[in-house]
């Protein structure tokens, strides 16, 4: 049942993910409101990316429920049970509403910049090519790449490629966006231009969940920050609380270690 008036947009309940015998997510509960920006931090292997990838079902959960806009999009009682999907709202449909941007850009190298951005509209939403390209062009203008639309992706810098990837996700007019360490593969001098786009998007009220190592940025734009450790959300709260006055010992250890390496 869809409920547009509820504040909550996305929710996971008792989410479990196992790869063979390795348990990556253990009973994760998380709720994200409309227009909220939530950052997920934690050391590598803590389950951050896996959690994010479960939100648009790029990873199939081993257990638990995923609820988007009041609809149970995936549910699984346990490993033995089959994953139950919403037939009227399958993963491919969910992914049109929940965009994702990856660490490695993942642009399609055989298509031009505008081809990359227009493709989701053309092939998922079946928008006619001319209209798709017009909308793609407008989206590329938004991320500051109007002058690059006919280029091939390989001719762009990393920061530019990542902005194309963001435009490719945004052109679908998603209701939420997932960002998986989108600046981690960039040279330091190119990080700023990508963060600028994210900052603008957050300002426009987009619901965003981002896995990031950019603590300063997370602190600045997030409504809440979740710290993950050992496959659970160990602590979640407003950035000033989590960064300044963490309640959990392991959050403090993580932040102290992080500060020690960046100083």
């Amino acid at each position: 049942m869809s409920n547009r008036h509820s504040r909550e947009l996305l929710r996971v309940e008792a989410l479990e993910k196992r790869f063979g015998t390795l348990s990556v997510l253990r009973q994760v509960d998380l709720s994200i409101d409309r227009g909220e920006v939530v950052s997920i931090v934690g050391s590598s292997g803590s389950g951050k990316s896996t959690l994010l990838r479960c939100l648009n079902l790029l990873e199939e959960p081993s257990g638990g429920r995923i609820i988007f806009d009041g609809r149970v999009v995936a549910e699984r009682a346990n490993d033995a049970a089959a994953l139950k999907l919403d037939k009227d709202y399958p993963p491919s449909r969910l992914r049109m509403d929940v965009g994702m941007v990856f660490q490695q850009f993942n642009l399609w190298p055989h298509m031009s910049v505008i081809g990359n951005v227009a493709a989701p509209l053309r092939f998922s939403r079946k928008v006619p090519i001319r209209e798709a390209e017009e909308r793609a062009e407008a989206m590329l203008a938004k991320v500051g790449l109007s002058h690059k639309i006919r280029e091939m992706p390989s001719r762009l810098s990393g920061g530019q490629q990542q902005r194309v990837a963001i435009a490719r996700a945004l052109v679908m007019q998603p209701r939420a966006m997932l960002f998986d360490e989108v600046t981690s593969a960039l040279d330091p001098e190119l990080v700023g231009e990508v963060l600028e786009v994210l900052r603008e998007l957050a300002g426009e009220g987009m619901t965003m969940v981002m896995v990031t190592h950019e603590m300063q940025f997370a602190r600045e734009v997030s409504d809440r920050v979740a710290f993950m450790d050992g496959g659970v959300v160990a602590e979640i709260g407003p950035p000033e609380q989590l960064f300044v006055d963490p309640q959990q010992a392991r959050t403090r250890t993580f932040l102290a270690r992080y500060l020690a390496t960046t100083r």
């Binding site: 648009n56 790029l58 491919s92 449909r93 992914r95 049109m96 965009g99 994702m100 990856f102 490695q104 993942n106 642009l107 399609w108 190298p109 055989h110 493709a119 989701p120 092939f123 998922s124 939403r125 990837a165 490719r168 996700a169 679908m172």
Partner: protein, 221 residues
């Protein structure tokens, strides 16, 4: 050596040789289409996540690649008719044999091309709601196809050369014709050399073509 070289025998027999070339080309093209078809099916089977399908396709590819083509040809010509109870003309047996024989290599080329596309690109396609078929048609195949062209052309050349084996089941291809005429005219050197040159003249331009494509592909990197 008391053999007097007489090239005119080639010119005198050019009609026969031309018929041989015709059969060789028909065999090469038809069998290549067959090999593409069988190879594509086998490759898709090999890429399937269905375990039984995967194993059957794997077994087919390995068996075909690890048995001599001559054995496959002769088996299809002599044994298959006994088993299925219908008589098979040599030409038909040759086309089936060559198609099957080359399909193992073709399957590996197709599989390699598809597997070469980075996983991240496929995930990006999923993440914008592409169906598996759209992902295959719009993301994987356009790139994989470019990677497959040079090895597929090489495979065609291999097949073209392999057609010379069908002489063994009496299909009148270039090799068969050249051999028969040598026996009739007692001029094996002229006629077999001519056959070799004709094979070379067909195969070499394709090889040059492959080299050109490969060089161009590298210069893009």
């Amino acid at each position: 050596m008391n053999y007097t070289f007489n090239p005119s025998v080639v010119l005198l027999n050019w009609v026969g040789l031309a018929h041989g070339v015709e059969v060789t080309l028909i065999l090469s093209f038809t069998s290549f289409i067959g090999a593409l078809l069988f190879g594509l099916i086998a490759a898709l089977g090999r890429l399937s996540s269905h375990r039984a399908v995967n194993m059957i396709a794997g077994a087919y590819i390995e068996f075909v690649r690890n048995t001599p083509l001559v054995v496959q040809l002769v088996w299809i010509y002599y044994c298959l008719p006994i088993l299925i109870g219908i008589n098979m003309p040599g030409m038909q047996a040759a086309i089936i044999g060559l198609s099957v024989g080359e399909s193992g290599n073709v399957a590996e080329i197709i599989r390699g091309g598809i597997r070469a596309i980075p996983k991240g690109q496929i995930e990006a396609a999923k993440a914008v709601g592409f169906s598996p078929a759209t992902t295959m048609m719009r993301v994987i195949l356009p790139q994989a196809f470019r990677l497959m062209i040079p090895p597929l052309l090489n495979s065609f050349v291999a097949l073209l050369k392999a057609t010379a084996l069908v002489a063994i089941i009496a299909v009148p291809d270039l090799m068969f014709v050249a051999q028969r005429m040598s026996a009739e005219t007692f001029r094996p050197i002229e006629l077999l050399t001519a056959a070799a040159i004709i094979y070379f003249l067909i195969a070499y331009p394709i090889v040059l073509c492959v080299r050109r494509i490969e060089r161009r592909a590298w210069s893009h990197l």
